[in-house]
Point group: C2
Chain length 66, copies 2
DNA sequence: ATAAAATGTAAATTAAATTTTACATTTATT
DNA sequence: AATAAATGTAAAATTTAATTTACATTTTAT
């Protein structure tokens, strides 16, 4: 699962910790998702996309292994 | 988490079992997600939306409790 | 160059998604 | 009306997401 979280965070100029707080998860969870370590739940993915005022499909992209 | 899976299945005229097979999960998983019992992983949500040739945000909608 | 902030990571635990098996109920077909 | 197909559901087991704590490394600010 590829994603544009790092880029969108840079645009908003917020840290992983700040994003984590906004979507109510731990900083490590944001770090892991941003690094593509696993697929978040759909609810979390939608909340993250909403923070960036983008759709899920604009932020996340499926890969073969998913 | 609300969703339009039932409607989109009707449009495609496919069963829960058929959808399950297409996205490689069990029929019970599709049944539970369609009934809104829990939030699927983002990867699964994206695969389901892709089957209907729609974006995730067109198929799923966040609710307060999510 | 130093200190502070941010990010990366890892192990152990908890919470939640998904599978499997199995059966009951509802809906469609003949 | 009878049969088959589809859907609903439930418990137990497994897998995966997410938390917590803790520390190491990298980046940014002074």
């Amino acid at each position: 699962m590829k994603n544009r979280i790092r880029i969108e965070r840079a645009i908003l100029n917020i840290t992983q910790a700040e994003l984590a707080e906004r979507v109510q998860v731990s900083r490590q969870t944001i770090n892991a998702i941003e690094a593509g370590k696993y697929s978040p739940t759909l609810a979390l993915g939608m909340k993250i996309a909403a923070q960036f005022e983008k759709t899920v499909n604009e932020i996340f992209e499926l890969e073969e292994e998913d």
